[in-house]
């Protein structure tokens, strides 16, 4: 496709949606004025015009797929024959699946916890230091970069060369200078997961940081000043005032990062492609979408397992939403 054609379809694509709203509303404005019971007629049509595109997209891309994925998980690889629990039984007995579940659990345990922790500590430190906002900017920056880009960046940290050669990976250069053997970090089972998680923590700490920074401003300054005058140490203030005060925010950030980590795919796909026992559910699913011509049954089971992870969060959100509606 030539560049001209490409920009043309981009333009037309966006124009299509703008014209839909403009033309339909324009017609309704004209037409509505002639009808007798104007308001009722106009309003019900207007509602349809306003919500229809979003509703269609919502239906096709979220609602229908959720049910379809559940259905497909009970069907064979082509989605034609009903096979009952066959795909689920396969999953339970598949060593790759078990490995992925364990890895996912590891990610869920470590990444949100450490990102939240670092974010909180850094937000606190930066809040009291004059060059704090520059520091925050720097630590927040990885949030703007793609996971694949981050993968390339960290390749320079983890790169391995044989023992005699010059190490061009920073981590190996450091340990070699201390007299140790260089390591192929990403191929050491179990530990390689931790090295991949480090990349994610490096990215997500920025998210925690900015949200905590905003939340810190809501803590009354007088309270902290008062306890300082009473002789409380900074550590004491951190644990006795700031953490209890931010409890709600900590929970929010922790869940937010949990949701992101649950669908983690790019970093592992780019760095190890799931080799050396680093696979997670999303990677295994991608694999089964195309492996052997694609297996929609097994792929769907894997998607559902990821979905099960977010159901508690989903239920909690809906519960909170209903509480708010009551007020």
């Amino acid at each position: 496709m030539s560049l001209l054609n490409l920009s043309l379809i981009v333009f037309l694509g966006v124009l299509f949606f703008i014209s839909y709203f403009h033309i339909s509303n324009f017609v309704l404005d004209r037409f509505g004025q002639r009808s007798n019971n104007r308001f009722q007629f106009e309003n019900s049509f207007r509602v349809i015009i306003f919500i229809l595109p979003a509703f269609i997209v919502l239906f096709i891309f979220i609602l229908y797929p959720v049910f379809e994925t559940v259905r497909l998980s009970f069907y064979d690889k082509f989605g034609r024959e009903f096979v009952g629990l066959y795909n689920y039984k396969w999953a339970v007995n598949d060593p790759e699946f078990r490995r992925s579940i364990l890895n996912n659990l590891g990610w869920l345990l470590i990444v949100p916890t450490l990102s939240t922790f670092f974010g909180l500590v850094i937000a606190n430190l930066a809040d009291r230091i004059w060059w704090g906002s520059i520091a925050k900017s720097i630590i927040f920056m990885p949030m703007a970069i793609s996971f694949v880009g981050a993968g390339v960046i960290w390749k320079f940290i983890y790169e391995y060369r044989g023992p005699g050669d010059t190490q061009i990976g920073l981590l190996n250069a450091i340990i070699v200078s201390f007299g140790y053997e260089p390591q192929a970090w990403l191929t050491i089972p179990l530990w390689n997961n931790v090295f991949l998680m480090a990349i994610m923590i490096w990215i997500q700490t920025g998210l925690a940081l900015v949200i905590f920074s905003a939340a810190l401003r809501s803590i009354p300054k007088e309270m902290i000043e008062a306890s300082r005058i009473d002789g409380a140490s900074e550590l004491k203030i951190f644990f006795s005032i700031i953490i209890p005060y931010l409890e709600q925010t900590i929970l929010v950030i922790w869940t937010l990062i949990t949701i992101i980590v649950l669908r983690i795919f790019d970093i592992i796909f780019a760095m190890t492609n799931g080799e050396w026992q680093t696979g997670v559910l999303a990677n295994l699913m991608y694999d089964w979408m195309f492996r052997g011509g694609g297996d929609s049954g097994r792929g769907s089971v894997l998607a559902i397992v990821i979905m099960i992870g977010v159901i508690p969060i989903l239920a909690w959100n809906l519960y909170k939403h209903r509480q708010e509606q009551k007020i």
Partner: protein, 379 residues
Amino acid sequence: MKKFTYSSILSQLLLLVFVIIWIIPTFGLFISSLRDKDLLAISGWWTALTTTEVNEIYRMSGMASQIQEEDYFIIKGKLFENNPGKKIQSFGITSKKINEFEIGEIAIFKDKSEVTIDENGNYLWKSFNEFKKKKGKRVFTTSLSPPSFTFDNYREVLFKEGIGRAFINTLAVALPSTLIPLIICSFFAYALTWMKFFGRDTLLAIIIASLVVPLQMSLIPILTIYNDFGALFGVAAKSYPGVWMAHTGFGLASTTFLLRNFLKSLPNEMMEAAKVDGASHYDIFLKIILPLSIPAFASIFILQFLWCWNDLLVGLVFLDQVPSEIILTAKLKELLGSRGENWEILTTGAFVSMTIPLFIFFALQRYFIRGLVAGSVKG
């Protein structure tokens, strides 16, 4: 009040450690992308920051370039292209003694031919007998190389490796994928906030629930729909409009949610007054809501745009991996696999892919952060 207490110095130090750890990886990539591609693969990026000693092997020219001067046969040449900073310190003619000779000294090979090298890499190789080999002999040099940076890698990558095209493709994916949800969700959010209709609360609950549904749940069914659609109408199953709509679908819930939160905060009286004056909902939307929502739009635009720009999975599943459709992240992943040892392409490509996000980050950080903070409330 004392300005410098132990605890304040300690916190400054601690923060400094965090900052250094966080910036080193990106800094390393940036430096690497500006280095000479041959040096990239043989020395760490940190060595580029100071003058370093490098050992190299060069081969002199062979018999074809010899000239005869009086009794001698002479081959003249340069070991390396002009490199103003690079100065040879010593050289050798065997791999066992690579710095046997100083600059200006004469080294004698086994066949009695003599060679001298100056510090800029010019050599003079002469012999009584005619040179008979096609390839010249090897010489080993030790030279000091000051920090030197070049944009050559960028030039090469942008035009030769298809990264430039991938950049445009990504733009063609990300722009509509951000604008379309913004358009349809602003009307949707308006209806959910200011219009009364049957099923409104249910719809809102569905949006809240959709916020956390992982996009993996949608991949297989949508891929099937696209394949069927393509087969039915005889068009390609994977196309730009397909990706736009997929991104629209996956970004719909959060965009609507954020916009609704914003609209809810606007005063109700304004709408009522406009309605009394006979304005339709569309008038209100265009003339009152739209101008007021610009800051909210900016935040949401940035969030969704970055999400689409940085996405890999959607681009991988819903686009063909051909030059006219491949996006930057997919291209980078491809390079990681096939050209993993061509560091100059990888580093530069990665940096090219980061230009737009980094620009947004530095220029529009305020809106970016505002969007993130507003979005976090949903947890």
